[in-house]
Subunit: 219 residues, 4 copies
DNA sequence: AATGAATGAGTATTCATTCAT
DNA sequence: GATGAATGAATACTCATTCAT
C-alpha cells in the first residue's frame, strides 16, 4: 500500500527471509537459554512474535531449523572474529600469522566472556548436544570442517612465512585450538565467577604462543 | 555365618547398592548413547535388567540420578588417571610435576580416544548439557572444583620444585588444561575419523610442555 | 454467504468453542461419575470423541479445566433454577420473596433428586473435593460468593417487603440455605433409596418457611 | 525389659492396636489435609513414625484403612457430641428432646468451627469423596445409618414427650439435620473468613427450633 | 504465506501392592 | 510383627508434526 514510493516493495523472498531471520534469532535465544530439547518450536514461533506453527512452516522440521541455526551462528561468529582481527590490524599495524591466531583466539574468548551473543551461546549449546553418540547435527560437522580449515591454513601460512615453527602438525593443532577455546568457553559457563576471565585469556595466549612460536635459540 | 556358601542371600542393603550400581551403569550407557533427555528413566531401568519404576524409586528424580552419575563418573575417571600415572611411574621411574601433568593429560586422551568407558562419555555428555544457561547439574560444578583443585595443586607443587615455570597462574592454567582436554575430547566425538588422535595427543603434550616448562635460556 | 448450505464449514473459532463445550460435557460426566482424580484427561478427551491430548491443549492444565467446569456448572444450575422459578411464577402468579426462596430450594432439590444433570452432580463432586485443607478450586469459591449473594439479596428484599421476618441475619441464612441443599443433596447420593425424596423436600420447605416467615401472633 | 513391674507387658493385641491407632491418627491428619487420593499409604506410615509398608501390613488395603478411619472418626465425633451434651445437661439441668437436638447441632458446629479434630475434618473429606457415583466407602453408609437413627430416635421421643411437634416426619428431618450440619461445615471450609461462625450457629439453631418446636397457638 | 486446532507418542512421577528379608 | 525393595499401572503434561482454514 503506502510502501509504494521509495520503500522497495519487499519481494516474496525478502519477506520469507525476514521471517526466517526473526525465527532464527528467537531460536538462538531459546536454545542458548534452555537447550535444544526444551526450546520448543511453539516457543520459538512465539518469541519471534509469530504463530506457533511458523517454525515448522518455514523449516519443515526442528532438525532442519537447528541445522540452519548452527550454520548461521558459525557464520556470525566467524564474522565477529574477522571484524575483531581487522580492528586489531588497524590498531597495531601488520600482524604475523602467529599474531593472527593469538588475536583471533583472544577475541573469541573476549567476546564470549564479556558480551556473548545468543548465537555464540547457541552454537556452544548445539555443540554440547552432539556429544551423545547417537546424535548428529550435520551443520556442526560442517562448521568444524570450516573452522579447522581456517586454523590450518593460518598455521601453514605462518610456517611458510616463518612466524610459526615448522615442526608442528597443522591439522592436529587446529583441533587443539578449537578444542581449547570451546572447552574453556564451556567451562566458563558452569563455573562463571570461579574463573578469572582475563587471566584465562592470558594463559591461552601464552600457551599457544609458547607452542607455536619458532624455537628461540636454545643453547 | 548365615551366608550359606554362594547362596544369593543378600541383605537389603546389599540388594539396594547392587541395584544402584546396575542402574548407574545403565544410565551411563544410555546417557552416553542418547544424551540425558533421550535416556528415559524407563529405558535405564530396563537396561539395568529391572523395572521401569526402579530408577525413580532409588534416586527420587531424574535430576538426582544424573547428579549421582556425574559424581560417580568423575570419581571413576579420576581413578583411571591415577592408575595410569602410577603405571607410568613404575615404567619410567621418577616423574617431575610437569611430567605428571603431561602424562595425566595424555592418559586421559588415550583412554578417551582408544577405549572410552561409558562413564567418560557420559560425563562429557552431561557437561555438554550444562551449556544452556537455565541448566545446572550440581554434580558437574562440584566435579569441576575437584578437578581444578587437582591441577592447580600439581602446578603449584611443580613451581615450588622448579619443574614448572614460576610466572604462570595456576588457577587459570587449570581451566585451560581441563578446557583443552574436554574440548578436544568433545570435538573428537563429532569428528571421529577427521582427527588423527595420536597427533592430537602429541600436540597437546607439546603445547602444554612449551607453556609450562621453565624457560630455557633465551639469548 | 460462504456458508454453503449445511456444509461443515466452521471457522477456527467455532471449532474451538465446539470442542471446548464437548470437552466440558465429557468432563462433567466423568467427574460426576468417578470424581476429579479418577477422571483422567485422557478419558475426558476420548469421551468427548476427541484425542487424549485435547483437554490439555485447550485448557492448559487439569486444574484450569476443573475451574472452567465449576463455573459452567454453576451457571447452568443457576439457569435451571431461574427457569423453574419462572415456570412457578407463571403457574401461581405473584410470588413473595419468601416464596421465591422456598420454590428455588424446592426446585433445586427436585431437579437433583429426580433428574440431575451431569453438571449438578459434577458441581457437588467438585465441592466435595474442596474439603481437604490443602485443596482449592478457585472456581468454587467464586461460585459460592455468587450463590450467597443471590440468597442474601432475596432475603433482604423479603425483609424490606415484609415477607421475611426482619430479625434474621441474611448472610448467615445464606450459608444455611446453601449448606442445607448441598448437604441434603450430598447425603442423598450415598443413601439413595434410604431417603424419601419427596418428604425431604417437604421438610426443607417447611423448615425454611418456619424459620423465615414473619412471626405469627404468638400469644 | 524395664517394663516388667507395674507396666503391664503389652500383649500382641495391644501392640497391634497401638500401631493401628497411630496409623489411623496419621491417616486422619493426612486425609484431612490432602484428601484420600493424595494421602499415600507411604506417607501415612511415615507420619505415624513407622515404615512405609506398615499401613498395608495392618489393613491389607487402602480401602480397608479408609473404611476403618471413617468408622473410628464417626465414633469419635459421636463421643464428642455426647460429652458436650452431657456438659450442657450438667450446666442447665434437664433438657427436653428438642433442646438435645439443638444443643447437639450447636456443639457439632462449635467444635467444627473452633477446634476441629483431624477426625472431624477427615470424616467430612471422606464424605465428600463419596459424591462421585462410582465411589463408595462402605463405612460412610453405615455411619449415616447410625447417625440418622440417632436423630430420628430423638425426634420421635420428643414427639411423644411433646417437646417436638407431632406432624413432622422424623426420617426426613434426620436427613435434613445431618445435611444441614454437614453442608454448613463443608461450606465453612472453603469460605473460612467469609462466614461469621457464631451467626451461622445461631441461625441453625433458630431455624431448627422454628421447624421442630410445637406450633405456638396461631390465631 | 500464515495460523492455530488437533493429534498421539513420549516421559517423569506417583502410588498401591507384592514379596523377600 | 515389621521393614523396605521392587514392580508396573496410571496419569498429567510436553511437543513435533499434520492439516484444515
Amino acid at each position: 500500500m503506502s510502501e509504494k514510493s521509495t520503500a522497495p516493495r519487499r519481494t516474496q523472498a525478502e519477506r520469507r527471509s525476514e521471517s526466517e531471520e526473526a525465527l532464527l534469532d528467537a531460536a538462538a535465544d531459546l536454545v542458548a537459554e534452555r537447550g535444544i530439547e526444551r526450546a520448543s518450536l511453539a516457543s520459538i514461533g512465539e518469541r519471534a512474535g509469530a504463530s506457533r506453527g511458523l517454525p515448522t512452516h518455514h523449516f519443515g522440521s526442528k532438525d532442519a531449523l537447528i541445522e540452519r541455526l548452527a550454520r548461521r551462528a558459525q557464520d556470525c561468529i566467524q564474522d565477529s572474529m574477522v571484524a575483531g582481527v581487522e580492528r586489531a590490524r588497524r590498531a597495531v599495524g601488520d600482524l604475523s600469522e602467529l599474531d593472527l591466531i593469538l588475536v583471533s583466539v583472544d577475541i573469541y574468548l573476549e567476546i564470549f566472556f564479556d558480551n556473548p551473543s545468543p548465537e555464540e551461546r547457541a552454537l556452544l549449546v548445539i555443540w554440547g548436544s552432539t556429544f551423545p553418540s547417537s546424535s548428529s547435527v550435520e551443520g556442526m560437522a560442517e562448521a568444524h570442517r570450516r573452522s579447522y580449515q581456517g586454523w590450518a591454513d593460518l598455521i601453514e601460512a605462518g610456517q611458510e612465512a616463518g612466524s610459526i615453527r615448522g615442526d608442528i602438525d597443522s591439522n592436529s593443532f587446529s583441533v587443539l585450538i578449537l578444542g581449547m577455546i570451546r572447552g574453556v568457553a564451556g567451562l566458563s559457563l558452569t563455573d562463571a565467577g570461579v574463573v578469572d576471565t582475563q587471566l584465562v585469556r592470558d594463559s591461552c595466549r601464552a600457551s599457544l604462543s609458547a607452542a607455536l612460536a619458532p624455537q628461540s635459540h636454545v643453547t
